[in-house]
């Protein structure tokens, strides 16, 4: 009987322990060569450098893994750890607390202000990272409250892919799609012609918000007023697409890979998705072409910048050695000569204008993206660390709007509800 009671209590405890301990799981420790002799100011170089990146799709045998490892300075080896950004950030939080943070970490750009204000990142100036030469709109998220913490490893953004075969069959001229009304008219035409409309990722959380922003900004809404009438109009647009059957209902749970897979079936006319799929788009059986996402009243909508930042976490013990290692690895990844190589690995654009011009010139599939990346906006530029909470609000509103399936009262209510928090 005692056993039974214990098992009941323990089972409950186990659930808690998962919560409590999960938050404390820490990453690898930094191996330091302790052979430093003499002068206390000149620390010995590290022999083992830890790098965390948010690209779990590349495993240890991938080209990316060997590319990162090849950045180890002479006499050192790089250990790479990879997980999704939110997990990396959580692990980094406990690692900094235990002072065994990695030497270099790559975080998705909207997570940078959050990490910086929590005191997890060392300012680039202290570390010695060269932050010059990056485009202002792309480097923006790396600067929080006037302090620059890191540099973009590259950049990506969103565009509107279309299946030219379907559009031709339905008699839709892509050049006629200039604003929301003409896009919706095109969706109507292709669905009447027997094809499906558009795929996008409306999944709860940052990924869904990232995909919502071109419509949000395209309506004239501002992140400072995330539930304004203009914002509601953007929510209504996507909600109508679901209500009228232009977009799949699974958009509420689809992430960008899932919505891309739907587009690759060849049944959908349009797909809102990222530049990182541009290469994949060029190798399909159907002709997939990219156009800028239209704003409500014409012209290209502002699109959000995507992509990770390379940063050096805070170290207490032996910080000089850790920062020296970080500087070398970061220079190897995003130094002027290596940007294109790194970004080709990731399917990203170089974050430096001149480098990017070379990159775009070398491969025609990038050409339609050149203007989009230049006019793209940082998500955290307006709000800094407050972006995280605003993004949560937008995500709730967007989910409500998509669930409303076109019902204007419900869409309005969803935004009003989100405004209350």
């Amino acid at each position: 009987m005692l056993n039974v009671r214990k098992s009941a209590v323990l089972a409950g405890t186990a659930a808690l322990a998962t919560l409590a301990l999960g938050a404390c799981s820490s990453g690898g420790g930094g191996g330091t060569a302790t052979t430093a002799a003499g002068g206390s100011t000149s620390a010995a170089a590290l022999t083992s450098i830890n790098v965390w990146d948010p690209y779990p799709q590349y495993d240890d045998s991938s080209a990316w893994a060997s590319y990162v490892k090849a950045c180890a300075p002479a006499g050192a080896t790089i250990t790479r750890t990879t997980a999704a950004t939110s997990d990396l950030l959580n692990n980094l939080t406990s690692a900094v607390k235990e002072d065994n943070a990695p030497d270099v970490i790559m975080l998705d750009n909207p997570a940078v202000p959050d990490a910086a204000t929590a005191g997890l990142l060392a300012p680039a100036k202290d570390v010695g990272i060269d932050t010059s030469g990056f485009d202002a709109n792309l480097a923006g998220p790396g600067t929080v409250a006037g302090v620059t913490y890191g540099v973009p490893i590259g950049a990506n953004t969103l565009g509107l892919y279309y299946n030219k075969d379907i559009l031709d069959k339905a008699g839709v001229d892509p050049a006629s799609i200039k604003d929301w009304a003409s896009l919706t008219a095109a969706l109507d035409k292709v669905t009447k012609a027997g094809s499906k409309g558009i795929t996008f990722a409306g999944i709860s959380g940052e990924e869904g918000v990232f995909q919502f922003l071109p419509w949000f900004w395209g309506s004239g809404a501002s992140l400072k007023q995330p539930t304004s009438d203009a914002a509601v109009a953007a929510g209504q647009l996507l909600s109508d697409w679901i209500g009228k059957g232009y977009a799949p209902k699974s958009a509420i749970t689809d992430n960008q890979s899932a919505s891309w897979d739907l587009f690759l079936t060849g049944q959908y006319a349009f797909a809102e998705n990222g530049s990182w799929f541009a290469k994949a788009a060029s190798t399909q059986k159907f002709k997939a072409v990219m156009m800028p996402i239209p704003g409500q009243n014409g012209g290209a909508a502002p699109v959000p910048t995507g992509g990770e930042f390379v940063l050096a976490p805070v170290h207490k013990a032996d910080s000089a050695a850790h920062y020296a290692a970080a500087t070398k690895v970061i220079a190897c990844l995003v130094g002027p000569d290596n940007q294109i190589k790194t970004d080709d690995q990731l399917g990203y654009f170089a974050a430096n204008k001149d480098q990017r011009a070379k990159q775009i010139a070398s491969d025609p599939i990038w050409t339609p993206w050149a203007a989009a990346i230049e006019s793209a906006q940082g998500r955290t530029t307006d709000l800094g660390p407050d972006y995280t909470a605003t993004s949560a609000q937008l995500s709730t509103a967007l989910q409500g709007a998509l669930n409303a399936a076109g019902d204007a009262t419900a869409v309005k209510a969803a935004f009003a509800q989100a405004a209350k928090g």
Binding site: M1, V4, R5, S7, A8, V9, L10, A11, G12, T13, A15, L16, A17, L19, A20, L21, G22, A23, S86, D87, L89, N90, T93, S94, V96, K97, A111, D114, A115, T117, A118, G119, L120, I203, S204, G205, E206, P248, K249, S250, I252, T253, T388, A389, S391, A392, S395, T396, Q399, G400, N403, A405, K420
Partner: protein
């Protein structure tokens, strides 16, 4: 462990006169040995259960953010965070959804599991093979089964809606805010049936067959045999099945998370706690303290159920 071994050898080699001195000091060597043997268990419990539990409760009484987690300088705020979480507009709907999820899951898992257990009690050709097949949900990794459920419940092209369409029913948007609680509950029932089947089936093996023979001699049909023999004699097994099922279901995160990310009505206390503790789902703002509050509440509920079980069992023994 080593303490235990050394005290035992010390006690063996000690002359008998030492006994008196040992008692005067307070503890006899055998008692030291006892402590030595218990120590590893106590250390285990303290390190892996008591300490995390203490940390969890302590975290719920301090206001932790990502920054204060690093500096360790979270201010003590008493029950402020509890008031905040319980006062939040999400709290009571989430409690209600959790209750529906747990109760409906348990009722159906138990009823279907018991029905299948009684069915398989009679062995017939292929019965053990079929029984084995019913365990599949248990053996599949949840990422596989939950993703499969998500596909099957796809509103536009899912197999379930296709099937319903054969009967002329309108397609159901299974995973939207309104229906997601129903959908994850259905998937969870499917997931829990094997557990109920296995435990209840082994409970049935312990009911002596002569009771059924006597009942049928007295003219009891299958239905009366079930209600007057099987069901009452299964009561102890039923109690433990329901208790374990309750605790398992209360803390379910995985299947809900994979299917809907806990959006809409499918948010339960457990998924909410997970979302806040790790900054997942709609909001990537990390809320350690609020998550700890929910963790503590979940623990208390499980604890209460444990006591309910004890009371029920004691009454059965009397």
């Amino acid at each position: 462990m080593s303490t235990g071994v050394t005290t035992v050898t010390a006690r063996r080699s000690a002359p008998s006169g030492e006994h008196e001195r040992g008692r005067r000091r307070g503890l006899r060597p055998t008692q030291w040995a006892g402590i030595g043997f218990v120590a590893p268990l106590v250390v285990y419990l303290v390190v892996l259960y008591a300490y995390p539990l203490y940390e969890n409760v302590s975290m719920s009484l301090h206001r932790f953010t990502r920054a204060t987690f690093v500096t360790g300088q979270a201010p003590f705020v008493g029950f402020d965070v509890y008031r905040e979480v319980i006062g939040s507009p999400q709290f009571w709907p989430t409690v209600r959804q959790t209750a529906v999820f747990v109760v409906v899951s348990l009722v159906f898992q138990y009823a279907i599991g018991l029905g299948l257990a009684v069915f398989f009690r009679r062995s017939f050709p292929l019965s053990s093979l079929l029984r084995g097949l019913f365990l599949v949900p248990w053996l599949l990794p949840i990422i596989v089964s939950a993703t499969t459920w998500q596909w099957m419940m796809d509103a536009d092209s899912g197999v379930i809606n296709r099937f319903l369409g054969l009967f002329g029913a309108d397609p159901v948007w299974w995973l939207n805010a309104q229906h997601s609680l129903m959908s994850v509950t259905i998937a969870n029932i499917w997931l829990g049936i094997p557990f109920n089947l296995v435990i209840l089936y082994s409970g049935l093996q312990n009911i002596p067959t002569d009771l059924y023979e006597a009942a049928s001699l007295d003219g009891a049909g299958a239905w009366r045999q079930f209600w007057h023999v099987t069901f009452p004699l299964l009561r102890p097994v039923t109690a433990i099945t329901l208790l374990l099922g309750f605790v398992y279901t209360l803390k379910v995160v995985d299947i809900i998370w994979i299917m809907t990310l806990g959006t809409g009505s499918s948010q339960t206390l457990a998924t909410w706690a997970y979302a806040m503790a790790f900054g997942k789902g709609a909001s990537s703002v990390i809320r350690y303290s609020q998550a700890s509050v929910l963790g503590t509440i979940l623990l208390l509920i499980a604890l209460v159920m444990g006591f309910v079980y004890l009371v029920v069992q004691r009454r059965q023994e009397d």
